[in-house]
Symmetry: C2
Subunit: 204 residues, 2 copies
């Protein structure tokens, strides 16, 4: 009741999502400029796509859309001086990385998430491999073995299922998204600035 009110926005992202990569790399600075607090919420798009009958990435299901996305992403990454290397296969299986992100303390989630995105889309590494994730955790000074074990426990699995269900119930159909306190959705790396401005204006 003493401090100033800090507007908060939920940043919903998916490790397999191409546009989540530049978004994750850009958002912290953009939020800090505006004095907006971020809640990093990784989730899985696969089950949401599947519930709409899409059994693969829309960028694989539609070849023209996929070709366009990779050229558009290359332009975005060049503009922001982000390395880009296409992971193989695409999309990567993001289940393990997402569980680990949720098993981590909230304060460590942003740095871990950026490291995953950098490995996946900057280096083209396979984030489905426990070894890739272990290297990132060890570089952060964390115990990889313990965290990978924790990520496989029922509470973490349940948490991810709950987050993904919650994302779908909010109207999420892609990634990344910013969702303000009054439920307004801003979809895509293109909408980060507008979503953060929306968080400042949102009724709480």
């Amino acid at each position: 009741l003493n401090g100033a009110f800090v507007p908060k926005v939920d940043f919903w992202y998916e490790f397999a999502s191409t546009y989540s990569y530049p978004a994750a790399m850009r958002i912290e600075a953009l939020a800090a400029e505006r004095g907006v607090a971020l809640n990093w919420r990784p989730f899985l798009l696969g089950p949401i796509f599947a519930s709409r009958g899409m059994m693969d990435s829309p960028f694989n299901l539609d070849a023209a859309k996929g070709r366009y996305m990779w050229s558009d992403l290359a332009r975005i990454c060049a503009r922001h001086s982000l390395p880009l290397r296409r992971p193989d296969p695409f999309p990567q299986n993001s289940l393990l990385a997402t569980r680990v992100a949720l098993a981590l303390d909230e304060a460590r989630r942003p740095a871990f998430s950026r490291a995953i995105f950098r490995a996946e889309f900057g280096d083209g590494a396979s984030i489905a491999e426990p070894a890739t994730i272990a290297v990132i955790l060890e570089a952060m000074g964390l115990g990889a073995a313990e965290l990978l074990e924790c990520a496989a426990t029922a509470p973490v699995k349940d948490k991810l299922r709950g987050e993904t269900k919650h994302a779908e119930s909010l109207g999420i159909f892609g990634a990344p998204n910013l969702i303000t306190a009054d439920g307004e959705i801003f979809w895509g790396n293109d909408r980060l600035e507008e979503g953060l401005d929306g968080a400042l204006a949102a009724k709480r």
Copy 2:
């Protein structure tokens, strides 16, 4: 060989497409600022969607995506002081309006196209109705009866089929798009500025 080279960009749009509306309203000023010439190329997305197995707008096939699009479009229109009224049904049948646009002299196509978009998404009028189109043509000082008749002739029908096939062959899967002289695609109202800048940089 005497005059300065004027970079040109193809503006591919679809009258039924929601994001083509703000794009058509904004693009002339943005192109003029940069000294880029525009080639207005209306086409039909329906056959391109159908060849991918989509028999309706993606904004109707996916309710969450549709809800998001309308709220995103409302924000865009508010920012650019454009009126917005959702036409019923959505999407509108754009076949007749597109044929008339192609029947017109190229010089009259931009003003006619903006008037169609304004009627459809600004006033919520039915652009499938010949009467809606006739009013627009008459307000432009053109003979509505003659143009509607011309729009129903084989050469105009063939021209539209050809343009739509050409759009698909270029990799178009949505609307609007800017395509530069070297074939680079910039998809969406969000990419107008970048596409026009790309036209300035394109190799010819």
